[in-house]
């Protein structure tokens, strides 16, 4: 019994480490590399939102793979990002609410779909469907964008920018991973 509990805690710790690390890498690539490029191409776009928000892809794929455990997996990474962006202001009620939205909505949407009879979670004998994941990613983005921007009282253009950034972010993250796996396969790794 004790060994099982220890094993479960170890697995959860490892999952949390991997998911949060992936979230942080996606965040820093987005904000330190992609956003400066975005500013060059769209100098008139004043919103602080990224039009290619890779962390959304990490949230969706983590929720698809881990279900409810993705909430715990994403939490350290998302909290770190809020502290990085806002300092101690991350503890403001609006930002705490935004953190809660960011980590719970993806798992919640997959769970709701399961209850509605459309279980997309990985299972033996089931073929994965990448377009379905992309579709769910869009729903997750819609809900997250509505709630987050409502919490922050953002301008209407931010709602659209979040949506575009999330959908492109998920698609391009999947594309990047696809190319990485393809290269690994080519070299028989």
């Amino acid at each position: 019994m004790a060994t099982e509990t220890t094993g479960a805690v170890l697995r959860l710790t490892k999952e949390t480490g991997i998911v949060s690390l992936a979230y942080l890498i996606a965040f820093f690539v987005t904000f330190e590399i992609l956003m400066p490029v975005q500013a060059l191409f769209f100098p008139d776009f004043t919103s602080r939102a990224s039009l290619l928000f890779l962390p959304h892809g990490v949230r969706v794929l983590a929720a698809w793979l881990l279900g409810w455990r993705s909430i715990l997996g994403l939490l350290p990474g998302v909290i770190f990002v809020f502290f990085y962006m806002a300092g101690w202001g991350a503890l403001a009620p609006s930002r705490l609410a935004a953190i809660a939205v960011a980590v719970t909505i993806p798992a919640l949407v997959f769970q709701l779909l399961r209850l509605l009879g459309r279980d997309l979670s990985p299972a033996t004998g089931r073929s994965p469907c990448w377009l379905c994941i992309l579709g769910v990613g869009l729903v997750i983005s819609l809900l997250s964008s509505l709630l987050t921007n409502y919490i922050f009282g953002s301008a209407p253009e931010d709602y659209i920018a979040y949506l575009i950034g999330d959908v492109f972010g998920l698609f391009f993250l999947m594309l990047i991973l696809m190319l990485i796996f393809r290269s690994l396969r080519r070299y028989h790794i």
């Binding site: 793979l65 990985p122 033996t124 004998g125 990448w130 991973l177 696809m178 796996f181 396969r185």
Partner: protein
């Protein structure tokens, strides 16, 4: 589900994406044999041919087509014949190996 199987599931999803985009080098049957092998490999490591043939994804695949796909998957490096066992056992190649 272990970390390896999570990686396998992610890989399966992206193989599905690759094929939809016309970039993949596997036929539908080859992909299904690979998926089935991935499913079994999660539980038992090496996969036995007879177990694969009974998999739900391969219910409508004829025996010759199945073996052609199996041979092709070996050639492309997706499956490897198990060296430490009798014939008929295969190892699924994953990026972690």
């Amino acid at each position: 589900m272990s970390e390896i199987s999570k990686l396998t599931e992610l890989r399966k999803l992206l193989l599905n994406m690759e094929q939809s985009m016309g970039l993949q080098d596997l036929s539908t049957v080859e992909r299904d044999v690979y998926y089935a092998a991935s499913d079994h490999a999660v539980h038992v490591g090496a996969v036995k041919t007879t177990l694969l043939q009974d998999h739900a994804l391969l219910a409508n695949v004829s025996r010759p087509t199945f073996f052609r796909a199996l041979k092709s998957l070996q050639g492309k490096g997706y499956l490897e014949q198990c060296k430490n066992s009798v014939r008929g056992y295969y190892i699924v190649k994953t990026p972690t190996r």
